[in-house]
């Protein structure tokens, strides 16, 4: 005979729960299985699971929560520190960044600075200054040639490769190429050569300094504005190499010298608006012939 508890796969569970029908129960209670299971059930209910200390566990969990939170906090803190440092460095770099103006061969450019000073750049020149807070410390780095009209104010300093030009408010021209020349057209300028042993040179209107053989020479000159501003380069008893260099600043050319003596002295001028004329007015009087090379911009010189 197949008993209920074998046929019905929920029978025993319902017996335990006390949800058998009366008939089912009475029938079941007559079996040996019932007697055995009663004892198993009874004994099982006397069993006990593990002892668990909830309070200790809660303490542990709160410790875990706090360590995790602290870790993320510390982590986040370092993150913030790193981010802040990056921002500060970035800001520093940015605030410390320079604004640079450059002119190419034959180009000129007029730059008006924040204080109203105007700097006219001649060809192949470079001027740079701090982008921010420049007015607190008027200082520019400069190479090439430029005419400075400086607004009155605190010291205005031009750093060149040969030395510093310090002014209060004045007009002057700096030429810092293979040779250095500073001309003062208005007011007062002081020039401090990089060679510290030399005394600063004070220039007033109509005075210029040159550097020859590492010595600062002070000479008078007589002109209202720099020649280059008129589109002219003038030379007075200057070596030919200065003239050739100047030509290469104004015109996109390169000279091939072929053993020409470039130390011979030249006096004269050339204009900036016509290469052919410029070459002719400078080279012909020196007895130098010239021809275009294979490359467009190469000028081959010969005696």
């Amino acid at each position: 005979m197949i008993e209920n508890y074998d046929a019905d796969d929920t029978f025993l569970a319902r017996w335990i729960a006390g949800t058998l029908t009366k008939e089912e129960r009475i029938g079941f209670e007559k079996t040996d299985t019932y007697k055995q299971l009663s004892i198993i059930n009874r004994e099982s209910q006397l069993l006990k699971g593990p002892d668990i200390n909830t309070d200790t566990a809660l303490e542990k969990v709160k410790q875990k929560i706090n360590t995790k939170r602290n870790k993320t906090k510390v982590f986040r803190l370092w993150y913030s520190v790193a981010a802040a440092a990056a921002v500060l460095i970035g800001l520093g770099v940015f605030l410390n960044s320079s604004k640079t103006y450059t002119t190419g061969i034959g180009e000129t450019m007029s730059v008006t600075l924040a204080d109203g000073s105007i700097i006219d750049l001649n060809a192949n020149s470079k001027l740079s200054h701090k982008r921010f807070f420049w007015e607190n410390n008027r200082e520019v780095d400069f190479t090439g040639e430029a005419y400075f009209v400086v607004k009155k104010g605190d010291d205005f300093v031009v750093s060149t490769s040969k030395g510093k030009v310090e002014v209060l408010g004045t007009e002057f021209n700096i030429k810092d190429r293979s040779y250095f020349e500073l001309k003062c057209y208005e007011g007062k300028v002081s020039f401090i050569n990089n060679n510290f042993s030399s005394e600063p040179s004070i220039l007033t209107k109509g005075m210029k300094v040159l550097i020859e053989e590492n010595k600062v020479k002070k000479i008078d000159f007589n002109e209202e504005t720099p020649d280059w501003k008129q589109g002219i380069s003038k030379f007075k008893n200057q070596p030919l190499m200065d003239v050739l260099e100047e030509l290469q600043q104004i015109y996109p050319i390169t000279f091939q010298l072929n053993n020409i003596d470039t130390s011979r002295i030249f006096s004269g001028s050339f204009r900036h608006d016509n290469l052919k004329n410029a070459l002719q007015t400078t080279l012909s009087p020196m007895g130098i012939t010239y021809q275009k090379g294979s490359k467009n911009n190469l000028i081959i010189l010969s005696e």
């Binding site: 508890y5 074998d6 019905d8 796969d9 929920t10 029978f11 025993l12 569970a13 319902r14 335990i16 729960a17 040996d32 299985t33 007697k35 055995q36 299971l37 004892i39 198993i40 059930n41 009874r42 004994e43 099982s44 209910q45 006397l46 069993l47 006990k48 699971g49 593990p50 668990i52 909830t54 566990a57 809660l58 542990k60 969990v61 875990k64 929560i65 995790k68």
Partner: protein, 172 residues
């Protein structure tokens, strides 16, 4: 509609902990048989509950805890024997209809514990939740995510198997 208490409030969190920690831990213990492992699993889930407190409503916390612990357990497959003890206040040989049924009480109890451990994990957890933790089939169904019918089947099967193993030791 009154607002539910927030799990993020420590008072409410503690309440949930006291209410469910022990029973969930036992449930996981009956599955894995390693109390240390069970406690670790449940504690980690309670840590998670705190971190997710804003997203879990107070009324859903119980099912979250059980489900999360269960999932966590499934990831750590490590089934061991459950260590069960008899309650200390039980005096052997009390009011059985016929003490002769028992060959020897202590021996029988040891065999019972062994037999329970021999059950499959599915049956073992249902049997212990029902008989030791005195949970109804409906509660067990809720905990395990199964139907009441499935729980009844597992329970019946567990009883049948226990009888098969222990029947010969119960002389009628």
């Amino acid at each position: 509609m009154p607002q539910e208490p927030s799990v993020c409030e420590e008072k409410n969190y503690n309440e949930l902990f006291h209410k469910y920690y022990e029973q969930v831990t036992k449930y996981i213990y009956y599955k894995c048989g390693d109390l240390q492992q069970a406690e670790d699993i449940v504690q980690n889930i309670f840590v998670k509950l705190w971190q997710l407190c804003a997203t879990i409503s107070f009324s859903k916390a119980k099912s979250y805890i059980y489900r999360a612990c269960n999932n966590s357990f499934l990831n750590e497959i490590k089934h061991q024997k459950v260590v069960l003890r008899h309650q200390q206040d039980v005096i052997a040989n009390t009011d059985y209809e016929s003490p002769d049924f028992l060959i020897e009480v202590n021996e029988f109890r040891t065999k019972l514990k062994d037999a329970i451990n021999e059950l499959s994990v599915k049956e073992r957890e249902v049997f212990l939740l029902s008989r030791v933790e005195q949970k109804t089939y409906r509660e067990i169904a809720e905990i395990t995510g199964l139907t009441v019918k499935a729980i009844e089947r597992r329970m019946s099967k567990a009883l049948k198997e226990l009888r098969e193993v222990l029947g010969k030791d119960i002389k009628i």
